[in-house]
C-alpha cells in the first residue's frame, strides 16, 4: 500500500492539514450532491416516450439566491481560514535559527551562521524555529519540504525567507518545485532533523572554517570596504555599525529599512540608493563577489552592532579568521 498522506513533521503541518480535511469534506459533500442529483434525475425523468418534452419550468429566484449566497458564504469562511494559515506561514517568530541557502542549477548550497556548509542536505535541530534565507544564482528555483507544508520560490536577485519548526527527528524530502531546466528533478535533497544534543555534536564536528560573519569580515577587509566604511564616521561611506534593521534616510528624501535586499543592492548597484549626505562614489562589486560571498558580507554587516550597544570601536568577528588564512590586510 503506497502512502496516501504525507508525514506531518512541522508545527505548520497540522494547521494546513486541518483546512485541507475541511475542504475535502466540502468537496466530497458537493460532488456527491451533484452526482446524486444527476443520477436520480436521469433515472427518474428518463425519456421513455420519444416525443415527450420536459416541464416548462424557467427558473426560480429563491433557488438562484440560495445557490449564489450559500457558496459565497462558504468560500468566505475558507478565505478567512486560508489567510490565517498563510499569515502564520509568512510570519516567522523572532527567535529563529537562520540558515542561508543558494540555489543553482541543480543543487542547494546551505551556509550555517557558524560556518558549516552543506550541499543538498540540511541539518537542523528539532523543536526550534528555523528560517531559511534563500536566493538563486541563476534561474528561479523553489524550496519545498512536503513534510513541513512549506514552499517558497527562490528568486535570483532577491532574498526570500521560509520558516518551519520541525517536530519530529527524521529525514525529509527537499524538492525543487519550480521547473529550472534539464536536471530539475535531480535538484533534490534531504532535511535532517536531529535531537538538539546530536545537532550540537554535529555543529561542533563541523569544518572549522569560522563563522559566516567572520568570513564576511575578512572579505570586507580583502575588498577594502573598510577604507570608506569606517566605524568612526570619518569615512567617505556611511557607518555600517548597527545598520541592519535601522531606518535609513536617502538622498531623494525617502527612507527605507535596511534589510538583506538593501545591503545586497548597495554592494552590487551602489548608485541605486544613495544615503543622504553621501556622494555616489562607490564602485560596483557586480561580478566580483559570488552569491555566497554576498551572504557572508550581509551576515558581517548584520553582526556590526551600533556604537551605543557595543562600545568597542571595531567589533571583532566572533571566531576571527580561520587558521592558516592570511591576515586581512590588503592595501
Amino acid at each position: 500500500m503506497p502512502p496516501l498522506f504525507p508525514e506531518q513533521a512541522s508545527t505548520m503541518a497540522g494547521r494546513v492539514d486541518a483546512l485541507y480535511f475541511f475542504l475535502i469534506g466540502l468537496a466530497v459533500f458537493f460532488s456527491l450532491l451533484i452526482a446524486g442529483l444527476i443520477v436520480y434525475f436521469a433515472v427518474k425523468f428518463h425519456r421513455r416516450d420519444p416525443n415527450a418534452t420536459g416541464a416548462r419550468i424557467h427558473g426560480g429566484m429563491a433557488l438562484e439566491v440560495t445557490w449564489t449566497v450559500v457558496p459565497l458564504l462558504i468560500t468566505m469562511v475558507i478565505f478567512v481560514w486560508g489567510s490565517s494559515v498563510y499569515f502564520a506561514i509568512a510570519h516567522p517568530p523572532d527567535d529563529t535559527l537562520n540558515i542561508y541557502v543558494v540555489g543553482k542549477q541543480w543543487m542547494w548550497k546551505f551556509q550555517h551562521l557558524d560556518g558549516q556548509r552543506e550541499i543538498n542536505e540540511l541539518h537542523v535541530p528539532v523543536g526550534r524555529p528555523v528560517k531559511i534565507i534563500a536566493t538563486s544564482e541563476d534561474v528561479i528555483h523553489d524550496f519545498f519540504v512536503p513534510a513541513f507544508r512549506v514552499k517558497a520560490d527562490v528568486l535570483p536577485g532577491r532574498y526570500v525567507s521560509v520558516w518551519f519548526q520541525p517536530t519530529k527527528p527524521g529525514r525529509y524530502h527537499l524538492f525543487c518545485a519550480e521547473y529550472c531546466g534539464t536536471r530539475h528533478s535531480g535538484m533534490i535533497g534531504e532535511i535532517v532533523v536531529m535531537d538538539p544534543n546530536e545537532y550540537e555534536a554535529w555543529l561542533t564536528g563541523g569544518s572549522g572554517e569560522g563563522s559566516l560573519a567572520s568570513a564576511g569580515g575578512k572579505l570586507f577587509a580583502d575588498l577594502a570596504c573598510n577604507t570608506c566604511h569606517r566605524p568612526d564616521a570619518q569615512g567617505r561611506g556611511p557607518v555600517l555599525d548597527g545598520l541592519f534593521g535601522r531606518q535609513v534616510a536617502l538622498q531623494d528624501g525617502s527612507t527605507l529599512t535596511a534589510d538583506e535586499a538593501y545591503i545586497r543592492e548597495s554592494i552590487l548597484t551602489p548608485s541605486a540608493k544613495i544615503v543622504a549626505g553621501f556622494q555616489p562614489i562607490m564602485p560596483t562589486f557586480q561580478g566580483l563577489v559570488t552569491e555566497e560571498q554576498l551572504l557572508e558580507l550581509i551576515e558581517y554587516v548584520k553582526s556590526l552592532k551600533s556604537q551605543t550597544e557595543q562600545p568597542t570601536a571595531r567589533p571583532v568577528p566572533a571566531n576571527g579568521p580561520a587558521p592558516g588564512e592570511n591576515t586581512p590586510v590588503k592595501k
Binding site: P2, L23, F41, I89, D142, P146, G157, R158, T182
Partner: protein, 539 residues
Amino acid sequence: MSSTVLTPPHHYLNDGIGVKSWLLTRDHKRIALLYLAGVTFFFFVGGAMATLIRLELVTPVGDLVSDETYNKLFTMHGVIMVFFFLIPAIPAVLGNFLVPIMIGAKDLAFPKLNLASWYIYMIGGLFTMYAIVAGGLDTGWTFYTPFSTVSSTSNVVPAALGIFITGFSSILTGLNFIVTIHRMRAPGMTWFRMPLFLWSTYATSLINVLGTPVIAITILLVAAERVFHFGFFDPRVGGDPVLFQHLFWFYSHPAVYIMVLPAMGVVSELVAAGCRKPVFGYAFVAFASLAIAVLGFLVWGHHLFVAGESVYSAMIFSILSFLVAIPSAVKVFNWTATMYKGSVSWETPMLYAYGFIGLFTIGGLTGLFLAAIGVDVHVTDTYFVIAHFHYIMVGGTIMGYLGGLHFWWPKISGRLYNEGLAKIAAGIVFIGFNLTFFPQFILGYLGMPRRYHAYPPEFQVLNVLSSAGASILAVGYLLPMVYLMWSLRYGRLASSNPWGAVGLEWMTTSPPPTENFTETPVVTWDAYEYPARVETHVA
C-alpha cells in the same frame, strides 16, 4: 423526426468540390471544418506526447527518455494542447459553424477575415511544429523567465513566434464573433432569445480580444530579451523575473476561461436538448458567463502566491479567486436543476454533459483548495495542480467539445454515427479520465512536484495507476475519430432535427445550404421553447 430522410440536393458540402474550393472558401461552415482538421491534428500530436510522458512515469527512475527529452515532451504537450487545441477547439470549430446559424445569419460579419484567421492559426502552428522538429523546446509551456530568456538552449524564439502569430487568429475570430452577434441577428432574435452557447461564445470573444494582445507582447518581450539581451526579466541586467509572471498570467489565467466558457455554452445546449426543456435560470447562466469573463481578469495573482508576492496582495487575489468560483457554481446548479422534470435523454451528447458537470464540479471544488492561500503554499507546483487543471481542461473542455461534436455531427456531416460505439467511447473516456487524473490529487498532496522526470519510489503505485488510466483514455479518444470518420461514408442519413431539439440550427437541412437558410428566419420565440416547432425549411 421524419421517418424518411433525404439529403438535400444542395448543401454546403457539395457546393464546390476540389481542394481549391475548400482552401479559398469563405463559408463559415467549411472554415469550421478546416479548423476541425487543424485542431484534430494538434490534439493527436499533443496526445502522443502525453502518452510518452505517462510511459516515462511508470517507473521512478528516468529510463525511457532522457531528462532533456522529457522536459521537451511536457513543454510541447502543454504548448500544443493549450494554444493549438484547447483555445481554438470549441470557438473555432463549433463556434464557427454555429454562431451564424444560431442567430439566423448567412455567415459571419467578415468571411474573408475568418478564412485569414485559419491561415494565421496554421502558420503559427507551422512555426511551433518547426520548433519541435528542429530540436524542441524545454521551457515549460509557461516560459518562465529568466530560464526561458537566459538559460534554455532550446528553440524558444520559433515557438514564441508561433504562439505570437496564432494569437492573432484568436483575436480576429473573437472580433468576428462579437461583431456578428451584435449586428447580424435575424429579426426577432433579441439578446435574451439567444441560445446560451452564444452568450458564452460572446464572453469568450471579449477575453480573446482584450487578453490575447497581452500574451502577444509578453512573448515578444521574451524573444527580444533572448535575442538582444534587454533587461526586462533578467535580474543580472536589472530586470524582474516576476514581472514576466504577472504579464503571462494576466492573459493565461483568463485563457483558462477562454477554454472552459465555450464548453459551458455547449453543455447548456446539450442539457436543454437532452431534457427538452428550457435551461433553468437562463439569465443567471448568461450573466454568469459575463461575470466569469470579467472576474477572470482579476485573479492572475493567484499563480504567484509562493513567488514572493506580499501577504496582502495574496489575500486580495485569494478573495477574488473565490468570487470567480461563484458564477461557475451557479451554472452547475442551474444545469442540474434543468434536469428536474425534464424528458431526460441517455444519448451520447447527454452522457458527455453528465460527464462534464461531474468532472467540472470536481475541478472547480479543487480550485477552492488552491485559492485558500494556506493550502496553496503546499500544493502549488505539485501534481495537485496538474490534476486540478486537467479536470477543468480535459474533464471540462474536452468533454464539452466531444459532447458538442457528437450533438452537432448530424448537422455538420448530414450523417448519423453509431450510437452504441459512441456510448461505449463516452464511458471509456470518463473512466480513463478519472483513473488518469484522480491519483494525481493524492500524489500532489503527498508532495510530488510537477515536471519531474524521475521521482522517489514511494510515489510509484499512484503513477502506475495514472498511466494505466491514460492508456484507457487514449482508446476513448481514438474511438470517436474512427466511427465519426466511418459515419461520413457509411452512416445513416440524418434528418434536419434528429434530436427533436429546438434552435435555428435544427430548422434547416442537415447539412445546411451554403447560405444556411433558404429564407431569413423570423424569430418569435424564446430559446429552448419546447415542444419543437414544425420544421420550417424547404428542402
